[in-house]
Subunit: 211 residues, 2 copies
DNA sequence: ACGTGTGAAACGTTTCACAGCC
DNA sequence: GGCTGTGAAACGTTTCACACGT
């Protein structure tokens, strides 16, 4: 059976599962105990067919002719996504973006805890960000160990990003979310996701020009 | 000829074109005048085949056996993406994220200019953000007209986002970049792109759990 | 000889449509 | 009757491989 156990869920499915979770929470807080692919899909902003196909990857958790039990489904997606454990986040860069991210609601919910924030600039080191104090960039290794970091967020200028990626890899931090506007070379075994704000604007510009 | 003139370039191609632009800039600043799909692809972090296929949508701008002229290609992509005009950006929400975005380098390059920033909170209205002053949310219509806004960025809590989207649609601002952690219903003709930070973290969590 | 430009194959994702079960 | 779960079709995207122009 255990061949080499490749990735199980399609990438696109994983992205949508997070949306279903949010939608299920919304339904639950509205007092609903059961739902259907139609209702849930509407809440999540997708079409019902793909929602059912996505859920079918997790096994049969619905009842034909009836639908899904909100709490049960929500629990199951949570487990599948690995959100039933603690994720300790380190933010690299205490500029505007880094500070904004450390307080961002989405970053502090569902098991994600921002545990430390680092910067190179001596002016920023020591200043307060939320309930954290900015620590020096050179303490990276020590901070990673002390706080048992498992996810890093790069909110640094493009030039600094690549070195940090390598260093994080050495320290066995293998999940990185980068806001640096550059493609990065990722060490073996690292999962890196990029959010590129200027790319998003440029795509909008293109779409706006279309007739 | 002009049927109804649908979108010309595949979505995925548009996203990569922005990366090629950045890569071309990097090559140019290194003094290179010519390049090839191999070199450029490496710089942009993609494979050469798809780069050539992407560029073929724009027409033939390379020379067989030789490659591409950096400046020429760069210019051409710029035009195709509509980056040869002015884009006047409005930021909605002057919280941490909104303030960070207004100063973010990617937001201020290549023809994009942040022209105004709005917030509902009386405490924030009147405060300075970069070289702008936060204006009251209720002045939305007036500000859009005054600054001739054509792109809006939503850095507001999820609940406020949907109303703003409708209102922006009325005001003929049809390009919106949303950071609200919710799917939004978009008015006809509007282009909306979402950046969902907590979704990104959750995807990382899932990937990290994979064996 | 070399690197582009591009059909054709391979792959991934979404939509359709309906059999199966409650 | 209604809604799930899922093969099969449709669509979109990436990769391959090579003919063609310089």
């Amino acid at each position: 059976m255990s061949e080499l156990e490749a990735k199980v869920l399609p990438e696109a499915t994983v992205a949508r599962l997070t949306q279903y979770l949010r939608a299920l929470n919304a339904l639950e807080s509205r007092g609903l105990e059961r739902t259907s692919s139609g209702v849930l899909a509407k809440e999540a902003g997708v079409n019902p067919a793909i929602l059912r196909k996505d859920l079918s990857w997790l096994g049969s958790y619905g009842t034909r002719g009836v639908g899904y039990v909100v709490r049960e489904l929500s629990e199951h997606i949570n487990n599948t996504l690995g959100l039933n454990r603690d994720w300790r986040v380190l933010i690299l860069g205490a500029g505007n973006l880094g500070r904004a991210l450390s307080g961002y609601a989405g970053f502090t919910t569902r098991g994600f805890k921002v545990r430390a924030i680092l910067d190179v600039s001596p002016e920023l080191v020591g200043t307060e960000v939320g309930n954290l104090r900015v620590e020096p960039r050179n303490d990276l290794a020590e901070v990673v160990r002390r706080e048992e970091i498992n996810i890093a967020v790069l909110a640094v200028p493009g030039d600094a990003a690549q070195d940090l990626v390598y260093e994080l890899g050495e320290l066995d931090v293998n999940s990185v979310l980068s806001f640096a506007p550059k493609p990065l070379v990722v060490p073996r075994g690292m999962n890196l996701r990029r959010v590129d704000l200027s790319t998003e604007l440029q795509i909008l510009a293109y779409l706006a020009v279309q007739p």
